[in-house]
Amino acid sequence: PHFIIRVPEKEDALCFNIQETPGAVLNLISDPELGIAVNGELIGKKEPGNVAPTETYFGKIGIVITKLDVRLEVTAQGVTVLSGARNVALTWQEDVTLTEEGFNLQVNKMENALLSMGDGATFIIVLHQFRKGDPLHRDFLGFYTLDSHRFSERVHGLLGQFFHGVDYEISNIHKTADPEKPDASMRVKDSLLTVTRGWQKDYSKDLQSGSRVQCWFVHNNGQGLIDGTHTDYIVPDLF
């Protein structure tokens, strides 16, 4: 999956990819103070004979809100809400709004699901679909956050660690073989990295074609930009 970190102070963005084997579960957000955790399980393309496809996506997103005793499992098939002993299964086939004490979930038919929580944070999970019988692609999910400043100072995770900003400096921008993708040096978190200018797509506004986000791409699974290494974020299961 492509990770994009907007940096409004610099009117810029940082991006990196995490490639792990299908089935791995990555921790995206973990806020012990708010009691919110978001994990994503990877799936790969349908490549017969290729046991470890190079490109992976999120096929399942798990959200835990411990204070409300709520767990949400979002897949390309639907959204399951486990609230205490209650189990509500919603599909992507219809518009549904589910309002419970403490959170509000809106499923917009075949497009996205919006989860708004009591502390003000909002997640958007976008459904990407391919035609039935596509030989290569599987349906997958995108995960977007709004109001991430609402999280506590202790928030962490592959996305969460950037919720309260990230400081970096870019220097030595220089041409490469691809004129549209210059390289540069980036000083971040006591590391000096070589990064490449590129772009990724934001599908939160327009599911069909998305909008381009220019960003500095950090190679090697975000090594140097993220705290530790990406394998530190692998968790045993979705919840």
Binding site: I5, G118, L146, G210
Partner: protein, 623 residues
């Protein structure tokens, strides 16, 4: 419109006659057609009429036989109607058709070489808004008509100050066909295009008449008020001009819950930015922004200085949707802000305090019991401030907002989720932007009159008009005198208006060729409207009484209101049996359901797919 799918039906006449007397409009729409085919044909008669109008009569004449509409109590009409429905026939005749209109539709089979005449009558009291009365007629004949005619006769005893007529379908060729004239009390507008002038192009058989025909006018105001007495009923129009504006204290309560994401938030911001341009420097204001909680822009109301307005604009530009809908806390915070401002005397003593509450949803957090929210707001406001609600989109609980506002000297308004939503919000603000009087009370001699309509008003806004009507019970009364007291920008104002009962009545006799009982009908219309409105916010034990009174008047004066229905009977060709159809009044609460096409279960507030959203902080996706 009157149309059929083939060319066999010839429409030889469409006649729209409107007679306006003292703001009360009586409209008669008549269509005549003949079936030239050698077999029967179905003909539909569609009329878009204003939501504020009451249908009073409908008749069909088929081959010389008249089929009248009969107005009955809703329940009684329903029984007759259900009988027809159980035989698998017919449908309702009236449905919501637009922001301001509802559609009346009748379809009937017309025998070969037979003639049919439709006649629909409806009445409404024209409301003065931003200095003018406006009457619109939807024009959509769909076919070329041998004789097409719109005639509007206006008779205003105060004298007409200006008169205009516009059509959204007007071309340079059609424009000279609109004749407007006025002199003294009388005004006339006519529009009579020939069949060739109706053509959308010289050899076309299609019509270019499709749109709104709008007549606007105002009356002379030599005195702030005017009383007219006709046949034992009086109507008092009060619209003082040239008064200084009273400073306003406005709290804008803005819903920024996640359902506002996209166009709604964008349009709300646009409207607020425009509104802030129009706030006067003597006004005070503040914002209460709510989602799961409440955010107050400034600790207290601030004066609308250029610096504060600039800061406010910056704040508005940075609003982004999030969270849920905590209506209760938002309302209470706004009320508390006004209380504090008045207690601390940080706002002028003589000032009008308004709350403009904008939401697109229903409460989803905090206090969610609607009755409790209304009770909390009522108990906190205690008649001191006016609460106006703007309901955005189809998911809004409009009846809740309506009750909330009516209980607190305000009104609710729908904002339709379309490209001009920002304009609709600004338009509403313009209506309430210029209060010139507060706590207005119109008093009449108690022992000489009865059945007076609402006579106390929280605010008077420049360009509007207060209308009070009643019945004179003292047969010997020569003069009817009204005393008006109101709080102006500097001090208490007193006005006295009087009308000589006999002379006025004699004078109006000359106009009786129009319709002599118009004052009585105007009174009935206004009374029914206000009873229906009171019913919305009345406690259960009063509701029955209000309903009974409104129903009795609706039946007596033959108005199709939300309590009555008109049963129309038409011949059924094949069985020889007659078929009953029903015309009901559409009310706002029903409308939202009627227009909603959602089939999936929806709980809580509505949401439409985002077309615009603020930049997310971070995300993970793949393509």
């Amino acid at each position: 419109s009157l149309h059929d799918p083939s060319d066999d039906i010839e429409i030889y006449s469409v006649n729209i006659q409107s007679q306006i007397t003292s703001r009360f409009a009586h409209n008669v729409i008549t269509s005549r057609a003949v079936n030239r085919a050698d077999q029967s044909r179905e003909v539909s008669f569609d009329v878009d009429l204003p939501k504020t109008a009451f249908i009073t009569n409908f008749t069909m004449v088929i081959d010389g036989v008249t089929y009248p509409g009969v107005i009955k109590e809703k329940e009684a009409a329903k029984k007759q109607y259900e009988k027809a429905v159980s035989r698998g026939q017919s449908a309702g005749l009236v449905r919501a058709s637009g922001r301001k209109t509802e559609k009346f539709t009748v379809s009937v089979n017309v025998a070969p070489q037979s003639k049919i005449t439709f006649e629909l009558i409806y009445e409404e009291l024209l409301k003065r808004n931003l200095g003018k009365y406006e009457m619109f007629i939807k024009v959509r004949p769909k076919k070329l008509v041998q004789s097409f005619q719109i005639d509007v006769d206006i008779n205003e005893p105060q004298g007409i100050s200006f008169l205009d007529a516009q059509g959204t379908f007007m071309t340079n060729d059609l424009l000279p066909l609109v004749h407007k004239s006025f002199s003294g009390e009388k005004g006339h507008v006519s529009f009579k295009p020939t069949i060739d002038q109706q053509r959308s192009c010289s050899n076309c058989s299609t019509t270019q008449l499709d749109g709104d025909f709008t007549v606007t006018y105002d009356v002379n105001r030599e005195t702030p008020g005017n009383i007219q007495v006709v046949n034992g009923y009086f109507v008092h129009f009060f619209a003082p001009s040239k008064l200084k504006e009273v400073p306003k204290n406005i709290i804008f309560i803005i819903d920024r819950s996640i359902s506002m994401i996209g166009l709604k938030m964008q349009q709300t911001k646009e409207a607020l930015l425009k509104i802030l341009d129009d706030v006067k420097e003597h006004d005070h204001f503040n914002f209460v922004i709510f989602d799961w909680g409440v955010e107050i822009w400034e600790q207290s109301l601030v004066k609308a200085t250029p610096e504060n307005l600039n800061r406010a604009k910056e704040y508005v530009r940075n609003l982004y949707p999030k969270g849920w809908t905590n209506i209760n806390d938002a309302l209470l915070s706004a009320i508390s802000l006004l209380d504090q401002a008045h207690d601390a005397r940080s706002v002028p003593k003589r000032s009008a305090s308004l709350i403009i509450f904008m939401t697109d949803g229903q409460p989803s957090t905090g206090e969610r019991n609607l009755d409790k929210i209304q009770e909390n707001a009522r108990n906190a406001i205690r008649g001191k401030y006016s609460l106006y609600s703007l309901g955005f989109g189809v998911g809004v609980d409009y009846p809740f907002l309506e009750k909330l506002s009516l209980e607190n000297s305000g009104v609710a308004r729908r904002i339709y989720e379309e490209s001009d939503a920002a304009l609709q919000m600004e338009g509403f603000y313009d209506e309430v932007a210029n209060p010139t009087l507060m706590d207005i009370e119109l008093q009449y001699p108690e022992n000489a009159i009865s059945d007076v309509t609402q006579n106390k008003f929280k605010h008077y806004f420049d360009g509007s008009e207060i209308v009070v009507a009643g019945r004179i019970t003292d047969n010997d009364l020569n003069w009817l005198t009204a005393d008006v007291t109101a709080e102006g920008e500097e001090d208490t104002l007193n006005y006295t208006h009087s009308a000589k009962v006999q002379e006025e009545s004699e004078a109006v006799e000359q106009q009786q060729y129009i319709f002599g009982d118009f004052t009585e009908r105007l009174w009935a219309y206004l009374t029914i409207q206000q009873l229906l409105e009171k019913r919305i916010s009345a406690p259960a034990n009063e509701k029955g009484n209000l309903t009974a009174r409104a129903l009795a008047l609706s039946l007596k004066y033959q108005f199709v209101t939300p309590l009555t229905s008109m049963v129309v009977t038409k011949p059924e060709e094949k069985t020889g049996e007659e078929e009953a159809m029903i015309a009901d009044k559409f009310v706002e609460g029903q409308e939202s359901q009627a227009q909603s096409s959602y089939s999936a279960p929806r709980v809580g507030s509505s949401y439409s797919a985002p077309r615009y959203s603020p930049p997310p902080t971070s995300f993970v996706d793949s393509d």
